[in-house]
Symmetry: C2
Subunit: 361 residues, 2 copies
């Protein structure tokens, strides 16, 4: 077993111990450790094998040896100091209560999240929190807004407020295109919806056209370039704003560093805000048919919303963005592949955002 000895200098060990000191629930641990899902499972598995962690009735607990390790590494639990009124997001949706009700009426029967396009949509309140945040920056009223990928139906939330000048949706999923089109016609929402694969180049006519974009891209470098880079291409070159979510569940801090470098160096934008756990995602329906449910670590389904992302706000300043066609599979990347390798070694199965990853030794 020495091959997998614990490296006490590995900050990931400390991060996971800190989260286990905070909660015995796998999903809570994953959502607080700042490490990707698969990385958490890998480390928890290692800690179990080494006798620092045990699993009891789906609860993940430190053993007495585990408590000693935490003490030795000077690891503390995470204290819940988030504001209870806004769940730590800093913004509230009070002003949009009526619109929220209207949104929920209109979006009855919405298409459920499917894994073909890495879907997973946010709660209705999250949509209005985004609007709340953006309106506090003067970014909504009378603005020309682009939405790239709209399983969240943010376009409908924006339209019911009647604030934007123009709303354009690019969406690959025919079900969503039809749904938004139909609702827009029925309720006179005036949303432009175009079926569009964001791996393609954007029409040159959209260069510098929009004031604002929203997006929630899949979390690979190529998807990020395809969505965010093209969003920046479509924004006015200075003074435009973009809002998007990135998790630390599907992406590592190393990937964040790469994404931030791409934004600063290649796209030429500045980051103005990053709010932790701002976007909350509805648990996807197909979760209990995935290997997570069969996982050796826990057999429980998530009992609460656990998949959250940081919202980034960026602003253009002589920016250029990116507008090239990509032929790659933008939903998968090497980072996932690396995680798979460890899972393979540990003979574990796990799901991540609904992807069926069952691997055997």
């Amino acid at each position: 077993m020495t091959f997998f000895d614990i490296d006490k200098n590995d900050y990931k060990i400390s991060a996971v111990l800190s989260s286990i000191l905070t909660s015995d629930d796998l999903y809570k641990i994953v959502s607080t450790s700042f490490l990707p899902f698969l990385e958490n499972c890998k480390i928890i598995d290692l800690l179990i094998r080494k006798g620092f962690v045990k699993v009891d009735n789906n609860r993940i607990l430190l053993t007495s040896k585990g408590y000693e390790l935490a003490k030795e590494l000077r690891v503390a639990g995470l204290v819940d100091n988030y504001c209870k009124n806004c769940s730590g997001k800093g913004y509230v949706v009070d002003r949009y209560k009526e619109y929220l009700k209207r949104f929920e009426e209109i979006t009855q029967g919405r298409p459920e999240a499917i894994q073909d396009y890495d879907q997973g949509y946010v709660t209705p309140i999250t949509n209005f929190l985004r609007i709340s945040f953006a309106e506090s920056r003067g970014d909504i009223k009378n603005k020309k807004i682009l939405i790239m990928g709209d399983d969240d139906l943010l376009s409908i939330a924006l339209a019911v407020t009647n604030l934007p000048l123009e709303i354009q949706v690019f969406e690959i999923d025919e079900r969503l295109v039809s749904f938004i089109k139909e609702k827009s016609r029925k309720y006179s929402l005036n949303i432009n919806v175009t079926r569009f694969d964001l791996r393609e180049k954007m029409p040159a006519s959209l260069d510098s056209y929009f004031d604002l974009f929203f997006s929630d891209p899949p979390e690979t470098i190529d998807a990020f370039k395809s969505f965010i880079g093209k969003g920046i291409f479509a924004l006015k070159k200075t003074g435009g704003a973009g809002y998007f979510g990135i998790t630390l569940i599907d992406a590592s801090l190393n990937k964040w560093k790469d994404l931030q470098r791409i934004m600063l160096n290649d796209f030429g934008v500045v980051i103005t805000d990053m709010i932790h756990d701002f976007n909350e995602y509805v648990n996807w329906e197909y979760h209990d048919t995935t290997p997570a449910y069969e996982s050796a670590i826990v057999k429980a389904k998530p009992s609460h919303i656990w998949y959250k992302s940081t919202i980034y706000r960026i602003q253009t300043l002589n920016s250029k963005g990116f507008n090239e066609k990509l032929d790659t599979d933008i939903l998968q990347d090497e980072e996932n592949a690396t995680s798979w390798f460890f899972l393979l070694i540990f003979n574990k199965s796990i799901s991540l955002r609904g992807k069926k990853w069952k691997l055997h030794w």
Copy 2:
């Protein structure tokens, strides 16, 4: 007057109009426009000369021509959607109420802010909000903490909680060094205080020593390198965290872009959080003896806290930081000089963080 014609594509015009639509108070306008103080004054002055803005009893107002311009530029006012319970910061200090009281007792008679070192300290609550934020990330308890520049007396706030393992302050101002040393002795706070000029190299023995740093650097590139770069040098190379504030009042978004590039490219850290208006600064006493009070734009003193900064949290990931001696004046930079040039043209006087800038045509 055509030399100063309005460029309707200049996002700064839109930004200032948006802030004037939101408030008639100069300090509120400055704190919401995302433009530096001097830039605000320059643009307001231009808008006054062109008949878009007027000043009435120290209130800054749009003229009817100004409202037309705002409409043409599709500029909206800023909507106040901040959570009232936490003022939009996302964190609360409930857990630290007793410590806050203790802090206020101990820091009676603290040295007032002076302009020699670009001082201006935060409210006591801001200190505990920083602790609240950091403790929610497991960054305080049992940690070795470095504070670079401590006119905020954050070291005393940390010490009264009794949470950190070690607190080291580097401070240039002899008054503060003596004050913190004396209080530490009197109340057994166990704070290490060293008189240190951060333009100097850090001792090699501090390389990778700390878990965490806090700082609130002067906002020039060189000061940023001297404070934040050296803070990163002194952090463990991976998994260390740094917290610091940067305004959009002394620094422009262009400078933010430069600072972010330095962090990502040169220091090799990742940004994990950026919370708008997190740090609030007590109005400095010498404000009414500065040229701001004589400014042609308004003659009113700030009636409320208006100087706020975004808190950044960064994390090390194979980072290196910066540890070189700088012989420059780190309190001034070209950006200020550029602003001075415009002030010179407009024959205005203005103060910025207490600096006496009176210029005549």
